[in-house]
Each structure stands twice: as structure tokens, then as C-alpha cells.
């Protein structure tokens, strides 16, 4: 799956997690850019992503992510 496809499938997960239909994902986006992106919502987001993409992530993989772009890159590797 290419990164465009991943962004397409990630966007509704972000919208639902943060209850905001106007979220537009950008590679440089971080938690600072999204209202309500706290530790609990981060957990909900990661679990939703694991379920949607049928992947298992490790705590260290998730902890190393600096922005949405790196999240997409991680998923791209996992899915290839």
C-alpha cells in the first residue's frame, strides 16, 4: 500500500478519535496541532490504527514517532 492510501485510511481514524471531521493530515503534524491529542486519546488512536491496518506495533516503535509522517512511514514498512 502506498503512503497515499495509508493517509486516506488514517484520516477517518483521526477524525473519529479527536471528534473532528475537519482534520487534514500532514506529514509534519504532531500532537501539538490537534486539540485533545493527549495520552489517552493517543492510546485510542494507536489501537484504532492497529485494528484498521491489522498490524501490531511495539511500544518502542510508537514512542519513537515524532509526527504523522513517521507514523505513515512505519505503517508503510509494516504493510510491505
Amino acid at each position: 500500500m502506498d503512503s497515499g492510501g495509508i493517509y486516506q485510511r488514517l484520516t477517518p481514524l483521526f477524525c473519529e478519535t479527536f471528534d473532528n471531521d475537519d482534520i487534514v493530515l500532514r506529514p509534519e503534524m504532531t500532537a501539538e496541532d490537534v486539540d485533545g491529542w493527549d495520552s489517552f486519546s493517543h492510546i485510542r488512536l494507536v489501537v484504532a490504527v492497529e485494528t484498521e491496518f491489522n498490524v501490531s506495533l511495539t511500544a518502542s516503535e510508537v514512542a519513537a514517532l515524532k509526527n504523522v509522517g513517521e507514523f505513515v512511514a512505519l505503517l508503510t514498512r509494516k504493510l510491505s
Binding site: 492510546i43 485510542r44 494507536v46
Partner: protein, 140 residues
């Protein structure tokens, strides 16, 4: 800690099941009414409940949620639990004094977040009382 089950994260696996029986008493109904402020007669007055078509006073949905709290706080994840989500459907009324069984299955575990998913059924002998999905963290 009383008898909180202190399960380790690595011992909680998808497919595991836990269950217990319970009966809601009139005293527990009165306690919930005082705690919640919900004094709706459906939960207090047999004649009102009968007029609404129910066979007896209906157990508060909140008390069924309380039994899910017992599951999560005392059994799975147990001691290290932080409850993070609940989605519940009340399918049929449970009556005061009826025996019900709560059956829970671990449906998923996420190593990256230490969150578990639970599928929960609350059953009376002849009908489904409630169906629920819950999420909880294991913070141990």
C-alpha cells in the same frame, strides 16, 4: 487490595474468558437511587413497572455497569486496570432478585499501548440482558 487479581500483562491473552454470577437486591437498588439521584419509579414501584409492561421492578442499567466495573477492577485487568471505554446495549430488562451471569472475553491486546479489549455479555437464563465492549489499560 482485597482480592484484586494481579494479572501480569503477558498473562492476559485474547480468547481468555472470565465470568461470575450476581443478583441485584432491593437494598442495592435503594443504594443506587441514593447515589445516582435516579428515582424513576420504573426502578422502585412494582405497579408502575407493571403498567409499563414489565414483569417487575427493573434493575438500573447503571448497576449492570457497576458489575462491569467489578470485572475490570477486580478480575481483568484487575489490580493494574485503568478503565478507558465502554459501549453498552441494554437488550432486555433484568429484574430485582433474578440471577444473572456476566461473561467476558478478552478480544484483543495491544502490546504498544497495553490496552485490552473486552466483549461482555450479561445473561439471564432465558435471555440476553446486555451486550458491551470495554477497553482498559494494564498499567503494571
Amino acid at each position: 487490595m482485597d482480592d484484586c487479581r494481579a494479572a501480569r500483562w503477558e498473562d492476559i491473552l485474547p480468547g481468555q474468558q472470565h465470568s461470575f454470577e450476581f443478583v441485584i437486591s432491593a437494598e442495592e437498588m435503594a443504594g443506587f437511587a441514593a447515589l445516582s439521584g435516579d428515582r424513576n419509579p420504573l426502578h422502585r414501584d412494582p405497579a408502575f413497572a407493571a403498567a409499563k409492561g414489565f414483569a417487575g421492578v427493573v434493575v438500573y442499567g447503571g448497576l449492570l455497569v457497576a458489575k462491569i466495573s467489578r470485572l475490570i477492577g477486580m478480575i481483568v485487568p484487575g489490580l493494574h486496570a485503568v478503565w478507558t471505554g465502554l459501549d453498552i446495549q441494554f437488550r432486555n430488562p433484568l429484574l430485582v432478585g433474578e440471577t444473572a451471569t456476566l461473561i467476558a472475553e478478552v478480544t484483543r491486546t495491544s502490546d504498544s499501548t497495553r490496552q485490552i479489549g473486552l466483549k461482555i455479555r450479561i445473561l439471564a437464563p432465558d435471555r440476553v440482558i446486555a451486550l458491551a465492549k470495554a477497553d482498559a489499560l494494564h498499567t503494571g
